[in-house]
Amino acid sequence: MKNHVLRPLFVVIGIVVLILLARIVIVPKDFGIGERGYMYAWYRKSNEEDWKKFKVKYMGREYCKDCHSDKYDAIKQTPHAAIQCENCHGPANDAVSEHPSDQRPKLVIDKSRAHCLRCHFPLPYPTSARLKIRGIDPDKHNPDMECSTCHNPHQPMEGLK
């Protein structure tokens, strides 16, 4: 062998070829360049579908309408109309179960005072809409009682006890 100087180069080329071969096996077939070009879209195309298949959990109030029409109609007449049912009851579906077909965990009912205070703690901040929500001082307004003992959240001022 006259020119041994190139031997290491052959070894390097061999390794590069091995890497390229490994690529054929390891890289998913749909890996490629998307619409935003190599800089912003170099990815596995089927991942888009993976994300689209993700489970929807919050169904929206229209979903409750047929079965809980009383609540649905009642809340419409009150200042709470804008609040989604699931904000206080948690998502109708979760990762494992679905309301109501799966009766196991009936939907949660968040009765904590803290939950109502998200909006009703008085924060009279100028330039913020929070200013306009009537707040109550939690230390003075019937402390140690759940708000729903007196207020029906679906009709907050009806039948106050």
Binding site: F31, G34, E35, R36, M39, Y40, A41, W42, Y43, R44, N47, E48, D50, W51, K52, K53, F54, K55, V56, K57, Y58, G60, A82, I83, Q84, E86, N87, G90, P91, D94, A95, A114, L117, R118, C119, F121, P122, L123, P124, Y125, P126, T127, S128, A129, R130, I133, P138
Partner: protein, 262 residues
């Protein structure tokens, strides 16, 4: 926005023009090219509009987001969060976002983390407001640019997604984001971020946070549709974006953005 649309149109035409002149050399079917341009016109580009005047800081959006997207509820990371800014008459700024406002703001004291809790008298407040934050789905997403393996990318409709099967967890994208929207998912251990609830918007639903917001402070829309209320609002109102100096071209627009908002 008009100039933006014009720009898009011009580029599209320019590219088409180039394609046609190229077709002399390389046989490209011009019909196919036009079809692509047309498809581009019909295409979707998601954009977000936040009205900071309307936000009351209830944090129901954060709660909904965490449950919808299976981000462990008690983990101290979140895809979206709400910040509170309080400016006093003495010119001082106090800001906080306890637990990302997952439980809203149920106290008037400011949470300064290791520096304790700060009591501010109601009278001392000059202005105060809430600012919801989420991924800006930038037109030039720096987080995507720095991913070494192609595990995060921008879909054709502008949403930046993370491939949980391909992410190696180096954290470079987290470092690269000027808005701090990325984190490691406590269960999957891959990079995680807001994706406008991709599974919802592609089904015609609103993002979970948008649906959860009782006050309409959050809206999502297709900026390529000139009749979309979000597009109209962005076009006709004074809107701002966060940290435009980074050149990221964020696509979350804010109404009533204050200079103090970081």
């Amino acid at each position: 926005m008009i100039s933006r649309r014009k720009f898009l149109k011009n580029t599209a035409l320019g590219i088409a023009g180039m394609g046609i002149s190229l077709s002399a050399l390389e046989i490209i079917d011009p019909r196919k090219l036009f079809a692509e341009v047309a498809a581009d016109k019909a295409a979707v580009r998601w954009a977000f509009l936040v009205d900071t005047y309307k936000c009351v800081g209830c944090g129901l959006c954060v709660k909904a987001c965490k449950e919808e997207n299976e981000v462990p509820y008690d983990a101290n990371v979140t895809r979206t969060w709400v910040e509170r800014y309080v400016l006093t008459k003495t010119g001082k700024l106090y800001a906080d976002t306890p637990k990302g406002a997952r439980d809203g703001f149920t106290t008037d004291k400011i949470d300064l983390n290791a520096d304790g809790i700060k009591d501010i008298s109601k009278e001392g407040i000059e202005k105060a407001f809430f600012v919801p934050k989420l991924c800006n789905q930038c037109d030039n997403p720096p987080c995507v640019q720095v991913c070494p393996v192609g595990a995060t990318y921008q879909a054709a409709d502008g949403v930046v997604l993370v491939d949980r099967k391909w992410c190696i967890g180096c954290g470079y994208c987290i470092m690269g984001c000027p808005y701090g929207v990325r984190f490691f998912h406590p269960v999957h251990h891959t990079a995680e971020k807001c994706n406008f609830c991709y599974h919802r918007i592609t089904k015609g639903l609103k993002s979970a946070c948008v649906q959860a917001c009782p006050f309409g402070a959050r809206q999502i829309g297709n900026i390529k549709d000139p009749n979309d209320p979000v597009t109209v609002a962005i076009r006709t109102q004074r809107v701002g974006v966060l940290k435009s100096e980074y050149g990221t071209k964020p696509q979350v627009y804010y109404i009533g953005l204050d200079e103090e908002v970081r």
